[in-house]
Amino acid sequence: MNLFRSLPSAALAMAMAAPLQAQTLTITTSGGDYGAALREALWAPASDALGYQIREDTQSDSLAALRMQVMSGAVSTDVIQMGSLEAAQAAAIDLLEPLDPGIVDIDGLPEGARNAYCHPFDSYGTVMAWNTETYGDAPPRNWAEFWDTETFPGRRALRANAQDLLEIALLSDGVAPDEVYDVLATGEGLERAIARLEELKPAVAVWWSSGAQSTQLLKDGEADLVVTWNGRAANAAADGGAADYSFAGSVIGTDCLAVPAGAPHAAEAMKLIAAMTTAEREARLTDHILYGPVNPAAYATGLIPEERLALLATAPANAGTSVFSDPAWWVEHGQEAQIAFDEMMNR
């Protein structure tokens, strides 16, 4: 092949084609059923509306993929889907482009969910689930009651990870949902949360480590009260387990969309993110997966059926007492918190 001869003509062809051809952006998602849902509901209609061509890429570890692209100076991705905590870690080491607030409607989001680098678009809740045979019609209604081992005797199962449990411990201790991070920011907040968890520890039969395990524990009746993700709790009930759950005091985690630092089409990427996160598209996403929209307007579209609303962490009826997990706090204090948590577990 004669590279030198074909090079100028290729360049010429590209130069001529450029004004005619649509922009091609690359989007990186975690793939699988989730990736397919994102394509169907979000980026395919959004890119059609904007006239962009999209190349899809999948990565199971978005932070590692992002780090590699940015560090090697060969950024190929324009829009990347991440967990909000990973995104905060990425932003802390300058791997992300700040979002343009003129294009992406950051202020339209609920206060706890706003982020300058990665735009949250869907959500899940860490919730309390219980065995309906043990508690019948009178399960705990909030975290304070979850902690009350006299009125609600029974074996608890909690995740062996400080995330969400610190927030939940403070909620159980009477801290208002919108003050959780103010208390955690005081330094004594962490101690208080850990002490509260230690109080419950004698009633904790299992510290689970995978979501599937938490479903199993709930379904088999191995534990009476389980802290788990809403999708996992719903699975236990759907699989025929005597299980139910509630969004009371749930801690909400989000997935978000970001633009890598040095992305080849950063300006177009911002437009794509804005178009992907319109009220209608986020509402449509719930046809595919049970992740609640973060854009509050999605709930006003009337596109989400009533019975589905009950299953979404951010639905107005469910979100009244919940807390948005704050990735910024976790990036800064996560390691310290996890060590304190592990020490508590091992005492």
Binding site: V206, W208, Q338
Partner: protein, 305 residues
């Protein structure tokens, strides 16, 4: 075995035939040594190099500069020492239970007629041919609150309410003993099979009771096998991960679990590597102790002979 010095010693000039024989022997030995080369290369590439790499990583920062911070953090953390203690406790308890169950079993196998013993041995080996994951999850099904064991216990009235048999130390121990028992029984059985029946008959003819015969003749003669079995059980279990991860319910955290946790929640390669090296040191110490015990026993055996 003779050392390399013997191989290179100059042949005595007197007898040509003998020198030729020695050359042949040398050539043969070199040939057999060369057969082990592929294995040596494999071990070097797949075991030694990664170990050195982990050792190196334990003294580097994320940016690749030299640091002792990983080790300082590790050695000053109560979590590390707690996990080291849990590891030793688990391995020690597994060993004690394997001995308590395995020695009588090996004795029964060794004294059974050969044909029956062979059949029973297949039963002992059977669990070894099943995946450890299957066996571990099998125990989960058996031991959980509404599992078969608890159903039997509460059904027969032995226990008034289901016992906590799993998601704790007990469950982990049951799973580990189940895994290790065949590996302990095999060398002990082999050692007991090799005991000269005349020694036992001699003891009996001189009026020794059965327990006395066992204590003074059978067990001392099988000691080599018991020591090998003990070494396999103790050292093998120091690095156990799956069993405590599945059956421990987060309540049991030996070093292997700690390494996974440091990796998955902190992405801290340096500290995880340092923990790995610590585990390796633990294994080396255990091996050295067992080797010293063997030397000691060997010396005692000679002075008695």
């Amino acid at each position: 075995m003779t050392g390399p010095a013997a191989m290179t010693a100059p042949a005595p000039p007197a007898d040509d035939g003998r020198a030729g024989l020695r050359r042949d022997a040398q050539r043969e030995r070199a040939f057999f040594l060369s057969l082990s080369l592929p294995a040596l290369v494999l071990v070097g590439l797949c075991a030694m190099l990664p170990i050195l790499w982990i050792l190196r990583q334990s003294v580097l920062t994320l940016r690749g500069e030299f640091t002792l911070a990983n080790w300082e953090k590790l050695l000053s953390s109560s979590l590390t020492w707690k996990s080291v203690w849990t590891t030793v406790e688990l391995s020690g308890a597994t060993l004690v239970l394997c001995m308590a169950l395995g020695i009588p079993l090996a004795l029964a196998l060794a004294s059974a007629p050969q044909k029956l013993a062979n059949r029973l041995l297949i039963l002992v080996m059977l669990p070894l041919w099943t995946s450890i994951l299957v066996r571990t999850y099998g125990w989960l099904v058996l031991l959980r609150r509404d599992g078969l064991v608890n159903q039997a216990l509460t059904g027969t009235g032995i226990a008034s309410e289901p016992l906590a048999l799993v998601y704790n130390f007990t469950g982990t121990l049951i799973g580990m003993v189940h895994f290790m028992l065949p590996l302990f029984v095999l060398p002990v059985y082999a050692a007991m099979r090799d005991i000269d029946g005349n020694a036992i008959r001699a003891a009996a003819s001189m009026g020794a009771s059965l327990p006395r015969t066992l204590a003074t003749v059978v067990l001392p003669l099988a000691a080599g096998g018991i020591r090998s079995g003990a070494m396999i059980v103790f050292i093998y279990t120091l690095g156990f991960f799956i069993t405590p991860a599945v059956l421990g319910g987060g309540q049991v955290s030996p070093v292997a679990i700690r390494i996974e946790k440091v990796m998955s929640t902190f992405q801290d390669w340096g500290q995880a590597s340092a923990l790995g090296v610590l585990l390796l040191i633990l294994v080396a110490m255990a091996a050295a102790m067992l080797a010293a015990a063997r030397r000691l026993a060997g010396r005692k055996g000679r002075t008695h002979a």
